[in-house]
Amino acid sequence: MKKILLWLIRVVLAVVFIYSGIVKLINPAAFAVNIDNYAILPWFLVSLMSAVLPWLEVICGLAILSGKWLRGAALWIAAMNVVFIIAIASAMIRGLDISCGCHTTSTEGARVGLQKLAEDIVWLVSSLYLYQSACRNSDSS
């Protein structure tokens, strides 16, 4: 049962992050607009992040799916989600009406809000669970 759950988490996380990475890579400039709208980072970092973050998502997704670098990828996904959660929460607190920029550069159904916050918390918990399980498996083997 636990194996099935772990397998399911890996597939779901991989699909979600590979998909969202590819969508952003199609148009990094539009993703930069999404990041910039959070009004957190200077433009220089925004432009760098708009190119690096999508690749981080794709590579982590592929790593999780393949099982290669599984623990590193799970930790990176957890770290990314911590950043996403802070960014979304800060946008909500400041009353910004912006698109999340999470899994699309479009705005349809993707505004910042509790739904996106909850979604990222789910990914965070899932990736941490995956990491802990991978560590335990490695210790016992």
Partner: protein, 173 residues
């Protein structure tokens, strides 16, 4: 508590290094990559010279041109098409004088309106204010659909009103 051993540390580094390398290549070679500079493109005072160059020398823009309130006003007076990216209800309440409404979130319903626009005219998209990203996204949408002269007015209707320019609609004046 999360403990990170040496092997995991190496994996973290490899993944980051690979992403960084791919990201740098993206910035260098991707035709739609963001402009890397210390200043935000829309804070760039070069907008005026780009504007003049585009108008006079038929230069092709690589991305929608971000303009300020003064430039947006000049565009409006030169009969650019001002496009409101907000919802029809918000547009009805108040919009920039002479603007048309193409809500980004319902863009598929506005195909006829888009088809009726001329690619020879400047298109200026706007939303509420810089916090609302619909204008930027709509501008990119126009750009991808082959409109070559697209500008985005980030200060939006709030910046427009703050400058004292006229609006229309239920709450307009």
């Amino acid at each position: 508590m999360i403990s990170i051993d040496r092997r995991t540390g190496k994996q973290l580094f490899y993944i980051f290094a690979l992403s960084l390398l791919a990201g740098m290549l993206t910035l260098l070679f991707h035709p739609r990559s963001a402009e890397v500079s210390w200043q935000r493109p829309d804070a760039n005072s070069a907008a005026d010279s780009i504007l003049a160059a585009v108008s006079q020398q038929n230069i092709t823009l690589q991305e929608p041109l971000a303009i300020n309130t003064r430039q947006a006003r000049a565009f409006q007076q030169q009969n650019a098409i001002m496009v409101d990216a907000r919802s029809p209800e918000e547009f009805r309440d108040e919009h920039i004088a002479g603007a048309v409404n193409i809500p980004f979130e319902r863009i598929m319903d506005y195909q006829t309106s888009i088809d009726s626009l001329s690619g020879d005219d400047w298109i200026v998209t706007y939303c509420w204010n810089p916090s609302c990203d619909l204008a930027g996204l709509l501008a990119w949408e126009f750009f991808y659909r082959g409109f070559a002269k697209v500008a985005v007015y980030h200060p939006g209707i709030e910046g427009w009103k703050a400058a004292g320019y006229e609006t229309e609609g239920g709450a307009g004046k």
